[in-house]
């Protein structure tokens, strides 16, 4: 299974102009949104033993019981069923599935006519409207303190879907 394997994904984007007619202060309201929801991506569980091939964090462990996804930040899966061994282990590649991704971006726009040809646009944009924290992948190296734990959001530096962020915009068009 590939690292970016995603079993299910839903995405909807829409722009809706509110059907309000009247003077230039009343009309011109518009809503827009992107709604995304998708299932989790696989986590490849490895050991830091490098006796076999000389490279750390590539060898997979033995699996000694059913894999149990708990779904908590500190214990995404039950780590006790994985045993590091100094050989190619019995666990397959990319067997455990990580957290899902859900995000809603939403904007309110007000268009105001200025004369015949020009218009001014004011926007308020809300990214991750519901402030839903999309979790990153759990630690995948057996024996490290982070094993099975999630310590960042999915895109901590890219900011997408980590926490609510608000942007304002002005546009003048002719």
């Amino acid at each position: 299974m590939s690292d970016f394997d995603t079993r299910r994904r839903f995405v909807l984007n829409a722009i809706y102009e509110l059907p309000i007619r009247g003077n230039r202060f009343v009309e011109g309201w518009q809503l827009a949104a992107i709604v995304q929801s998708q299932s989790g991506n696989p986590v490849n569980i490895v050991t830091n033993i490098n006796d076999v091939n000389g490279v750390t964090n590539t060898l997979r462990p033995d699996v000694t019981g059913p894999i149990n996804i708990i779904g908590e930040v500190d214990r995404w899966f039950d780590p006790s069923v994985f045993t590091a061994v100094a050989r190619f282990g019995s666990l397959g590649r990319n067997v455990v599935i990580g957290p899902r991704f859900d995000n809603v971006d939403f904007s309110i726009t007000k268009n105001t006519k200025i004369g015949e040809r020009a218009r001014a646009q004011f926007r308020a944009e809300f990214f991750d409207l519901f402030n839903h924290a999309n979790l990153g992948q759990p630690g995948n190296i057996i024996g490290t303190p982070a094993f099975g734990r999630i310590s960042t959001t999915r895109f901590p530096t890219g900011e997408s879907g980590s926490s609510r962020q608000v942007q304002f915009a002005m546009k003048l068009m002719f």
Binding site: T6, A33, N41, D105, S107, T152, G158, E159, S160, A169
Partner: protein, 324 residues
Amino acid sequence: MFTQIITRGRFCAPLTAVVLFLALFAPAHAQSTTTLQGRVVDPKGAAVPGVKVTARSHATGVERVAQTDSGGSFQIASLPAGLYRLEVRSTGFQTQVIERLSLEVGRTVTQDFRLSLGDISQEVSVISGGNLIERASISVGQVIDQRTVQEIPLNGRYFLDLGLLVPGSVTPPQSWSAAIPVRGVGSFAFNTAGAREEAVNYMINGISLNHPGFSSINFQPSISSVQEFKVDTSTFSAEYGQNSGAVVNIATRSGANKFHGELFEFLRNDALDARNFFEFNSSEPPPFKRNMFGGNFGGPLVKNRTICGMTVDCRTSTRGAASS
């Protein structure tokens, strides 16, 4: 207050300062254009050869003429995307006109005509039934139109974020790859139709936008400069070589016979932001201030002949990195 390292990024213009001059008499570029084709028949359904089909752009006034062949078929290739007026003229038949036909980038639009007997000087207005289904090609893809490009909320105004709106695209996983969004520059690729992120062919006005080393996108074209784009995710035409995954055809805005333009300013700061879930040392998000500003302008130098357009996109940002 929590301890923090202040990282400062302050750059203007070079990130996405795109200056595009478009001379209309230059030959139209390869694939980031559109093709119009169709068949002209008489009232009995028989092919009419030698019919003059004229497509005239509403924005620029550029005109392309084709004649139907012995089978009644015509084709006008490499048209810049936009709104067109179509005119079909043949002696012995009434002239038919479609005032507004939208030709979208990367598509092959089929528009058939059934002529009525009459005088060529009589003009009949025809309403196009729309072209929801692309009859002329088997490629699977979607056009993201100008309104969506300009008005959908985008954090950071990164063009590639729009690629996630296309069916088949997925938000990337959290492991290193060019598809991961990076603060200040966005992502460099996207995964679509199950393909790896380096398998996408990006073209801007028919010119390759792929990085020669990583095969990711070379730069994010300014949102303000993009008119519309199409993503073909599978079974696309053999004319697109180079990459196996998907084809992204970007058409930039061009000038028109009328002067058009926009000025913009996008402001984001930490005042209304929520803190990150994993920020345990503070109830506030780290200090942040970002301004994105610029404009787009286009118009005629010589009407119906030479038209120019340009976009300037600047951004400055300052951010305190969180300690955790």
